[in-house]
Amino acid sequence: MKYTEEHEWLREEDGVIVVGITEHASEQLGDVVFVELPEVGAEVTKDDEICVIESVKAASDILAPLDGEIVEVNEAIVEDPGKVNEDPLGDAWFFKIKPSDLSPMDDYMDEAAYKDFIG
């Protein structure tokens, strides 16, 4: 598992990257009440704002961690945004992206580095 400074987790599954938000991020956000996901098939560029996540407190964006194509999105968290607080590392993944180039994955933090990052 890799982590971004935007508090996303990235897990590689057969050349596709599954993306979600970390437990730390879900705690900081508070109760999530709204999620907007990208369209399946969308070609995205690293750092594009591709998801919106709103909690009882505020709205924030999720950035594309890599260049690539969105191959699947998790409609279950659109139907029930509370899942993001219940199981951010499991059931409440956001989208799957097929990267055009996997090598930027090496630049992201591993778990130890992320733990240091959030202090």
Binding site: G30, D31, F34, V52, V56
Partner: protein
């Protein structure tokens, strides 16, 4: 946060694991470990304890009376007609008919007890001192203010002060207790039954600990306080009302008694009366309304409202908005032109560049549960 003030319950908030934020010059709990959503739902189901000690508590005394006559020069409410032991919602108006602050005034026999917003209290006290000739205006800085809100608030409160069982909505009493003299009003800012309790600062911790020991009671932060009052259709000063909004634009005419209106025995005589009384008869050009966004996306304060799903210029804006946990959907309020203020009118709110449908709705979103 070095320059922020602390309420007498500060240590309790920290002990309970609250997330503290700056609010109106105070370091206040925005939420406890339960979280905003559950705190909100708990208050509607059982009882929530709020620290509202940041609000200003003021005693007003007239030279020959309780100051009610003088006070009517600052507000469009009937204060002389307020019976002893009763409280009333009021607002200070300015010469342009705008709202300087909203407040609660209680008649306690030989004086008035006034509770004002934290962010406005310095200005309000200066205003009262300058504009209430012959009156004594005393800010109480040695008392905390707690609110216990929710359908089970009455049973808990009656354990501590049995006399509260006989109180109706907006009654006020002074009661002796093991925490010293408690000033209790049956009122609040959630749309639920409940009480606001002024207690000596030195006893506030004891009272809060005793209340929190009840299974019915959870501590509730500012986050849920905001979503509760929004569902209740209650204005937040600085968001929904300010010097740029008149009471009629704000749909607060219900709080202006007949005796102060045109043809009333004590008609006018408050700042901005010309405009406010004219608007009472002829209507205002714009109105505060409830707004129900159709999808799940919250429309927050500042969201611009349009008549059509593309083009045109904004016709209004959201002044408070978020997710309503008891409604289970986003809720908002804002200002729209009078011609678009009818319930069911469809408008569009622009959220992240997209026009999303929103419908003008009746306030409150959640029916009030007061003990009348």
């Amino acid at each position: 946060m070095p320059d922020l003030l602390k309420t007498p319950l500060f240590d309790l908030h920290v002990e309970l694991g609250a997330k503290m934020v700056p609010f109106a010059g105070y370091e206040m709990p925005v939420q406890y470990p339960l979280g905003v959503m559950k705190e909100h739902l708990h208050t509607r189901a059982r009882a929530g304890l709020f620290d509202v000690s940041h609000m200003g508590q003021v005693i007003v005394r007239g030279a020959d009376d309780n100051g009610a006559g003088a006070f009517e020069a600052l507000v469009p409410q009937s204060i002389k007609g307020l019976p002893e032991g009763r409280q009333r919602y009021a607002f200070f108006t300015d010469e342009n008919g705008g709202i300087l602050d909203d407040l609660m005034v209680a008649n306690r026999g030989d004086h008035l007890f006034v509770v004002v917003n934290a962010a406005c209290k310095a200005d309000d006290i200066a205003h009262m001192k300058a504009r209430l000739p012959g009156c004594e205006v005393e800010e109480l800085t040695d008392r905390a203010l707690l609110a216990l809100q929710g359908p089970e608030a009455a049973t808990v409160m009656a354990d501590i002060v049995p006399a509260v069982s006989d109180m109706r909505f907006m009654d006020v009493i002074i009661a002796d207790s093991v925490f010293g003299e408690l000033w209790v009003s049956r009122s609040g800012y959630t749309g639920e039954d409940g009480f606001e309790v002024s207690v000596a600062a030195g006893q506030a911790m004891n009272l809060a600990h005793v209340l929190l020991a009840y299974d019915e009671v959870e501590p509730i932060g500012l986050g849920a306080r905001d979503s509760l009052r929004l569902e209740g259709g209650l204005c937040l000063y600085g968001n929904d009302i300010d010097t740029g909004t008149s009471p009629i634009e704000a749909a607060l005419e219900w709080a202006i008694q007949k005796v102060r209106r045109r043809g009333g025995e004590r008609e006018g005589g408050f700042p901005g009366a010309d405009r406010i009384l004219a608007e009472l008869e002829n209507g205002a050009e714009r109105r505060r309304v409830g707004l129900s966004p159709e999808g799940r996306a919250p429309m927050r304060a500042g969201t611009e409202l349009y008549e059509t799903n593309e083009g045109g210029t904004p016709v209004g804006a959201v002044t408070s908005g978020g997710f309503g946990p008891s409604v289970g959907a986003p809720v908002a309020m804002g200002y729209v032109p009078a011609r678009l203020s009818g319930t069911g009118t469809r408008l569009y709110g622009e959220v992240r560049g997209k026009r999303l449908p929103v419908t003008v709705a009746q306030l409150p979103f959640v029916a009030a549960n007061f003990k009348r």
